[in-house]
Symmetry: C2
Subunit: 188 residues, 2 copies
DNA sequence: TAAATTTATTCTACAATGTAGAAATTGAGA
DNA sequence: TCTCAATTTCTACATTGTAGAATAAATTTA
């Protein structure tokens, strides 16, 4: 009994779907800690590599799909006077996500459609509402803090020096950042 | 007259060298805006691809070599009471370097030997001398600021959205950062 | 219902990449 | 001179992204 030859052409019944591919890709990304090759992804789905290309133009498009779906997981700050707590929770959630799905950071930053990136910025603004900053100030604070988080996430991703590099390690930076924010508010 | 067949074996006279390889790699990296393949690098040096491997164990080792040599270019802060000016100059210099040599950021962060990374931290500490921070505070300030710069550099590297993304754009973040530093000093 | 077309899939193939291992040639020390 | 080490080319392989043709089921049209 040899392996089934897997006939060519459209299969009977339900075959692949964008969703099945995205789910498999997402789970493999998390499992193996890196972006899977198209062929390995296809193997997991028990399908030929080229089948993937029926649903996605190229690998970048596939990764963008993964990114979009995964970005919905991040923490939604609640309305609260304790903006520091909310911001910290949001930051931890974002970093955890970037750690769980290595490779997405680059994809996120490369994407032409900025939808996923805006998810973070919306929630950032939501968290900082109590501070009542000007839109300029908010924008500056946002770009400072996201770039910091991305740098931290990248270090996390590249780190192979035994030392664990935990999300909790952002605490000192977070304190400095909130110090600066506090100063902005005072100087109104 | 066909192309010269390039005889096998050790050539008469001077052949390759680690330095020639590093210089070619560095210049191609700057020219083409991305890390060259071993074969293309070898072609530039008019040598077979495998010759490179006599001098470097693997591509990562080669890139580490480039990184080390290139990191020496970065700005050396002078002793000055105007620490903000010095820090800004250092930051610009670092970012320009990371922009000029795309791909080095990842290499830098991946390197087990932290020599090159320490170049920045030494100069950072030099610039902040006038502030007279505790070593804890210095460490926190450093990790905050480098991670920010790395995040910014990564965005720069990934950015393909027409918008130029200049090093001058760090100004607002820089202001927030110095605000926080100033506050640290005050609260002594 | 039969023919035509569209959709979903496999197969084959190619180019680019990193790299291993063997063969060849030169240089240097005994 | 003989041997061994250094430096190079050649060949070859695995992995990757992806293009294009062949094929078969599903769907639309006549």
């Amino acid at each position: 009994m040899t392996v089934k030859p897997k006939t060519r052409g459209r299969p009977k019944g339900q075959g692949l779907s964008k969703d099945r591919i995205l789910m498999a890709a997402t789970s493999m990304l998390k499992q193996e800690g890196k972006v899977p090759s198209i062929r390995k992804l296809a193997a997991t789905l028990e399908v030929d590599g080229m089948a993937i290309y029926h649903y996605f133009d190229n690998k970048a498009a596939l990764l963008e799909g993964v990114t979009i779906s995964v970005m919905e997981e991040i923490y939604q700050p609640v309305a609260s006077e304790n903006w520091q707590e909310q911001l910290l929770a949001l930051s931890h959630s974002y970093l955890t996500l970037l750690k769980d799905y290595p490779g997405l950071l680059t994809t996120l930053l490369t994407m032409s459609d900025f939808g996923p990136a805006e998810v973070f910025s919306e929630r950032f603004e939501q968290a900082l509402k109590p501070l009542d900053l000007s839109s300029q100030q908010l924008e500056h604070a946002l770009s400072f803090w996201v770039d910091y988080l991305h740098g931290f996430a990248l270090a996390q991703e590249c780190n192979q020096s035994g030392l664990p590099l935990d999300v909790e390690m952002i605490a000192p930076s977070f304190n400095l950042f909130t110090l600066a924010l506090g100063h902005l508010v005072d100087s109104d």
